[in-house]
Symmetry: C2
Subunit: 232 residues, 2 copies
């Protein structure tokens, strides 16, 4: 559903193609924001994610969608951008920070969103992090988000002029099941999304990585069917 005319309030939304950022974007849209979607193509193994991001951006009716190539693999450090194996059948939340962690990823992504927001005159950045059913990544915690807002106030022309950037993390306190319930209530089609870290040929989810396990648990707890699994 494309926007007929652009709303006055602009927000930059970090859109990965997963269900969290889709839902976060939809919540911001429902609150009246005109959405500017930023997808960072950071050398992730799961490039089908980028195709999902395009589908989701269209479904959200974003004003503009920027896909920004950024070769984080140049630094190494994560199995998501490197050559190691994605862990399977891991107990979520156990064993500390997983090898799928991409160093400082959300810091980099929020910084890029801030650069665009400042250019657009947007005061809001939307990110789909959540700290309940999260995978143990340090840069998904609410205190990280607050620290970024403090930085943004000092980092920018607008901040120097006294304006504040807000980082909206509408999923921060929701469980995966709550996120899915919220999205379904907004009429979202989760069949457009992609979550798997280690997709099979054709982009089918592996069903065994952290991301697949969290997603399946969320749909089960929400009492809903995942169109990616059940509709395949």
């Amino acid at each position: 559903m494309p926007a007929a005319s652009e709303p006055e309030r602009r927000a930059v939304v970090l859109l990965s193609g997963g269900l969290d950022s889709y839902t976060a974007g939809a919540i911001a849209r429902a609150e009246g924001f005109g959405l500017y979607a930023l997808t960072v193509a950071y050398g992730q193994r799961h490039r089908v994610e980028l195709e999902a991001a395009r589908r989701v951006a269209r479904a959200l009716g974003v004003v503009r969608h920027v896909e920004l190539p950024l070769d984080l693999a140049a630094f190494g450090g994560s199995v998501l951008t490197g050559a190691g194996d994605v862990p399977r059948d891991r107990a979520i939340g156990e064993g500390g920070i997983p090898t799928t962690y991409v160093p400082a990823r959300n810091t980099v992504f929020l910084s890029l969103a801030l650069a665009w927001a400042e250019t657009l005159g947007a005061s809001d950045i939307v990110i789909g992090v959540n700290a309940v059913d999260y995978s143990g990544y340090p840069d998904c915690r609410p205190e990280f988000i607050r620290a970024f807002e403090s930085l943004a106030a000092l980092a920018t022309k607008a901040g120097a002029g006294g304006a504040r950037f807000r980082v909206l993390a509408p999923l921060a306190s929701l469980s995966k099941a709550d996120i899915i319930r919220r999205g379904l209530a907004l009429g979202l089609d989760y069949g457009l999304t992609h979550s798997c870290y280690d997709p099979r040929p054709g982009g089918r989810p592996c069903g065994r990585c952290d991301s697949c396990v969290l997603r399946a648990k969320g749909f089960a707890e929400a009492g809903a069917r995942d169109p990616l699994v059940d509709g395949a």
Copy 2:
């Protein structure tokens, strides 16, 4: 002078090819750091800067030099990445934040340096900002640097484990003349560097942009000759 063996303490240094980051890197090297140089090729008009960054990285004997392409021009917003004219003959420090400001640039650069530092196990990031003879950019202020350190502690695996990242800004309280004096005392060859925002054919400095004006003032106050100008 290449490093014979790699020192144990690693620092990521943001290297632009200008005289400030060269001097900041040299100060960190003198303090015993093994340097990992990061140059962001962000679509700047002055691509001769990138060639200067390579010369400077060689002169500093860095362990590794990563040139990371990042198309900040996708967001627009600065004459340094866009099509507008670079201002000339401006009185430095007057007229607020200049049009050469690139939105959130140092936030983006420090975030990328943090990603690499975390991967390397480096605890220090070196940046050549200074707040005395600065051009009015909000993200060169000491309070911005401190806010980034607070963010980094929350943003990373290491931070989650209690470690701290330090952002070294050894030029923060130095005038341009002081920076040049310090660099000359360390034996730096400023003929390797490039400062101009709007270079003439062959990369010669225009002599009239903010950056050229600040540089000329610095050399004059330091009582030194700029090899780029006098040696041409």
